[in-house]
């Protein structure tokens, strides 16, 4: 069994040091609960609605003392967290990093920056250009950030890259109130979580934040789907939570023996088809 914790937290906007303390507290809590993997939400080190604060909170992971402190605190624990990355001077990315055991395993830079309605990420961030599965101590994983996950091609790329675990870090404001409790927007995350986990035979972990920034209320509702497409754990909407769940990696093999999407995947056909579409465009 692997013990996974989803930290449904309320980061402080623009205050990296306060957020570092928040992360260190939760890392300590994770150690006490013998957690193996601890997942934070999108931009967990900085808060979400940064706008012109983006350059002020940006980090360079390999040189950042903050990352050094996180690595030191983690020991054997693996954490996945969100931050603003200054990849080269003046280029800022909405990034997530998977780290622990003294090293950074992978950094993903958000590819799909929402830039419509109340969202304006495209104005402040540079879009990432790659979606890559990577090896970490519990198998093969993929990282996605919020709106990345709502484009199903991203999960397909991770699935084809052999990911067993898809970690989605989110800062999704609730929108659309309705008769049942919670926001209408929660449904799209669950719909995608269920679909991707079922049709890719992977675990999907979705960690969303809570709290308010400028009147936008982040909806929480973090969840885990197993490789059979079953919801196995969920945090409440709106309120802070630390959702700790045991998952059975044996489910990966069992799901793939039942449904053969994985074995029968033909990425080369999809690749050729896409290539034709792109060339003819």
């Amino acid at each position: 069994m692997i013990k996974v914790a989803l930290a449904q937290i309320k980061p402080f906007l623009g205050e990296v040091n306060k957020n570092l303390d928040l992360h260190l507290d939760l890392i300590e809590q994770a150690h006490q609960n013998k957690v193996n993997i601890l997942l934070f939400p999108e931009l967990s080190l900085t808060g979400y609605l940064l706008r012109d604060l983006v350059p002020e909170v940006a980090l360079h992971p390999s040189q950042s003392p903050i990352f050094q402190r996180l690595l030191k605190a983690c020991q054997d624990l693996i954490i996945i967290l969100g931050f603003v990355e200054e990849k080269e001077p003046g280029l800022y990315f909405n990034s997530v990093a998977c780290l622990g055991r003294g090293q950074i395993f992978h950094i993903h830079r958000k590819v799909y920056l929402p830039n419509y309605g109340m969202f304006e990420e495209g104005k402040f961030f540079t879009p990432g250009r790659a979606i890559t599965s990577f090896d970490f101590p519990y198998g093969r994983a993929g990282l996605l950030i919020c709106y990345d996950f709502l484009h199903y091609g991203t999960s397909y790329a991770l699935f084809s890259g052999g990911a067993d675990y898809i970690f989605v870090l989110s800062a999704a404001p609730g929108r659309g109130f309705q008769e049942s409790p919670g926001f209408a927007s929660q449904r799209m995350w669950e719909l995608m979580g269920e679909t991707i986990s079922f049709f890719s035979s992977v675990f999907v972990f979705y960690c969303n934040r809570v709290g308010f920034e400028d009147g936008k209320g982040f909806a929480g509702g973090s969840f885990i789907y197993n490789p059979f497409g079953q919801l196995i754990a969920q945090a409440p909407p709106l309120d802070k939570d630390m959702l700790i769940t045991d998952i059975d990696p044996g489910d990966l093999q069992a799901a793939r023996q039942k449904r053969f999407y994985r074995r029968d995947n033909r990425p080369e056909i999809i690749w050729r088809s896409l290539e034709k579409i792109i060339r003819n465009d």
């Binding site: 623009g14 205050e15 706008r51 012109d52 604060l53 109130f177 709290g211 308010f212």
Partner: protein, 271 residues
Amino acid sequence: MTKINLEFVTHFLTSFIRQEYSKLGFQRAIIGLSGGLDSSVAAHLAARALSPANVIGLIMPYRTTPPQDLEDAREVAERLQLRTQTIDITPMIEAYFQSQPTDNNIQRGNKMARERMAILYDFSARYQALILGTSNKTELLLGYCTIHGDMASAINPLGDLYKTQVRLMARHLGVPARIIHKIPSAGFWPGQTDEAELGMSYEEIDQILYHLVDKRKSKQQLLSLGFPEEKIGRIISLIKASEFKRKPPLIPKLSERTVTHDFLYPYDWDK
């Protein structure tokens, strides 16, 4: 309009109020209580979010304010066990209009709204209490409110609820029935009612606004849904005419970085 989960909305709005007050460093809220629906609902939410001991109700009648409204405002405060203070604005208003006379009722009403605003801000400083707004989505969209008057506040929890939704919230929160069934009035002059002045009921207005704003339907689509052309037209023109009330004042851009143009920081900056 779709049904809404009133308990969820209550939880959402009280969380919002609690978190904003904490971020902004205020324990206490101050609300202008009129005895009407919106301020009663705002007071109930504030009392739940911050505890009644931290909510101050200011009752600010004018000589033409119906005694029933005063009584209703006091009843809300008593039921919630809020601290209240009553300040009669008649002397200030009369003094001003004696020196600057007008028989324009709108001008008189706007002056009263701004007098109440000025008192609220003064009391905000006296009590270190942050002003909780009471403007609903219907009046904000139609501009049926006084800029720098009743629109002035620090945070405005009802701003995304239509008037008819505020009424549903009132029932859920236990606002006295007499207030829920009271005919809405801005109280600019005796006998004034919102619905007579707007020429339609809040049910009709909110349905049209919901389809126009929330559902992004065109005028043509609203017509095919059976809404009367004249009412749709009136609502659209009210929305357009009042956009200035929903925006900060325009600044002509001269420099490379300008307030309201490209000096872009969150409201919650450093909070």
